[in-house]
């Protein structure tokens, strides 16, 4: 199962077992500009798909990040506390935000795959 994407520019990447990592896409980080702080959820927090999960602060504004799927937060990316710019440099790998233990893995089937997400970005760029 490969990485899936939401229309709000979050990505979710399944890992072994019922786990998945979540972050924002490279397109999202370029839209936000220089990121100065990321507010991450507490491990143990229960999220439903679509809940506000994190907040990204750029120089100009704060933006919400939503849970692409339901689950329990099991780990957060500690590297972002000292180096929020990691999200700008490496949004889709080293700049990951948190990991979930998925409670409804089938929710991922409803999300865009990489090809569909890039097609979606094309429609935004044409606008």
């Amino acid at each position: 199962m490969t990485t899936r994407f939401t229309r709000d520019h979050e990505w979710i990447r399944p890992e072994d077992g019922p786990y998945a990592a979540v972050g924002i896409t490279d397109y999202a980080q370029s839209q936000l500009g220089d990121i100065v702080f990321v507010e991450l959820p507490e491990p143990g927090k229960q999220l439903d798909k679509g809940d506000e999960a994190a907040v990204v602060e750029s120089v100009k504004a704060a933006s919400e990040v939503y849970a692409p799927a339901s689950g329990e937060v099991v780990e957060v990316n500690g590297a972002l506390a000292d180096d929020p710019a990691l999200v700008n440099q490496s949004a889709e790998s080293g700049g990951w935000f948190f990991k979930l233990r998925l409670t409804k893995p089938a929710e991922l089937d409803l999300l865009m795959d990489e090809h569909a997400y890039h097609e979606y970005l094309e429609t935004l760029r044409e606008a």
Binding site: G33, V36, F37, E57, V59
Partner: protein, 384 residues
């Protein structure tokens, strides 16, 4: 300050619009104009570059205008009727920061006023006002001028700012006379043979210049300065973080029609002579606040953690209650931390006083701080 992406056809453009697009700027709507919020490098890089070398800013959206009358005394008196500043005594070639006041002592706008270099050109004062207040200011002024003074809008001119420790060295290559200007001085001079009016002032806390040129020459001057190795184009995003670190007010946020100059900690704009003589709008309130202290005061706020506190954030005395509100806030790249300005009850306005800033319902510890956050580095003197 952040605006929506600029796709609205009704937005005005400056004479440099094509340059911004050519440089890959992200454009936003600001004060009815399509303006660059950043270029490709991003806000933090543009901010740092301005403090380390030289940033180039298109500020043509601001309002340039002339007050014109029979002689300096008459024009100065007309402006003094609207402001608390000393303009009769403004020397040739000098620029002064001032405030348009309303009858309640509130601030209609903040602006720069410049007297011509030579007596032959007296009977004129050049004004630069905020883009967002142009229409309001011009109406306010025109409604209060004597019949022998008029306001001429100079919307056929562009305004370009070059700011930073390398600005003087760069500008001198093309406008050698610029080095003779001290801080807050201005003069007409040639830049690459083009007639400009240049002042040594700005909105960043750094040494720098503001260059007024006819609109049809703006692209040529912009390209000449942008080509210099020390120069980077800088958008409104970094312009905001630079002025915030410098403790400078943004109209409509830190100052507005309800804030007096005393509350806003802008006492330096109140001329001693004018305070002694009285007779300017809002005099009673201002005199009372100077004597007894204002009920609230603009202060700096240094956030102790990493969470930015933005405009509208409540300010509380820890464990007690609300004492004020943030009016400007964000991240200061030179400070390396979130910073803000806001108003607090005068009794709480002590540097070092701990406060809580309530961001997303959680108290973020901060302290009241003196302004500026980054020391000003204005030119000490011109060559002459």
């Amino acid at each position: 300050m952040a605006g929506a992406p600029a796709t609205d056809e009704a937005l005005r453009t400056t004479p440099l619009d094509s340059e911004h697009r050519r440089l890959g700027a992200r454009m936003v709507a600001f004060a009815g104009y399509s303006m660059p919020v950043q270029y490709r490098e991003g806000i933090v890089a543009e901010h740092r570059h301005t403090r380390e070398a030289a940033g180039l800013f298109d500020v043509s959206h601001m309002g340039q205008a002339f007050l014109i009358g029979p002689d300096h005394e008459t024009v100065a008196a007309a402006l003094e009727a609207l402001t608390p500043g000393d303009f009769r005594g403004l020397a040739h070639g000098r620029q002064r920061y001032t405030l348009l006041l309303n009858e309640s002592g509130g601030i209609v706008d903040d602006l720069m006023v410049t007297r011509p270099v030579s007596a032959a050109d007296d009977g004129r004062l050049m004004l630069v006002v905020n883009a967002s207040r142009k229409k309001v200011d011009y109406n306010h002024i025109r409604a209060r001028l004597p019949s022998n003074v008029r306001l001429r809008e100079a919307d056929d001119r562009a305004l370009i700012a070059l700011q930073g420790p390398k600005a003087a060295e760069v500008l001198a290559r093309r406008a050698p006379d610029a080095l003779a200007l001290g801080f807050m001085r201005a003069a007409p001079m040639k830049l690459d043979g083009i007639d400009c009016h240049i002042s040594r002032s700005g909105y960043t806390g750094e040494d720098g210049f503001e260059i007024s040129v006819p609109a049809e020459k703006a692209v040529e001057i912009w390209r000449a300065l942008a080509a210099e190795p020390e120069v980077m184009p800088v958008g409104l995003g970094a312009r905001d973080s630079l002025r915030l670190e410098a403790g400078l007010c943004l109209y409509g946020h830190d100052i507005d029609e309800t804030t007096s100059p005393v509350e806003a900690a802008l006492n330096f704009a109140l001329s001693k002579r004018r305070l002694a003589e009285g007779g300017f709008p809002g005099y009673e309130r201002i005199a009372r606040e100077l004597a007894a202290g204002p009920s609230r005061l603009r202060v700096g706020l240094r956030v102790l953690g990493k969470v930015p506190a933005r405009e509208g954030t409540p300010i509380e005395e820890p464990g007690r209650g609300r004492i004020g509100t943030v009016t400007s806030g964000g991240f200061g790249p030179t400070v390396g931390a979130p910073i803000a300005m806001g108003y607090v009850a005068r009794e709480q306005a002590r540097p070092g006083a701990p406060v809580d800033l309530i961001v997303r319902d959680k108290p973020q510890p901060a302290v009241v701080a003196e302004l500026p956050f980054v020391a000003h580095r204005y030119a000490r003197s011109g060559r002459n």
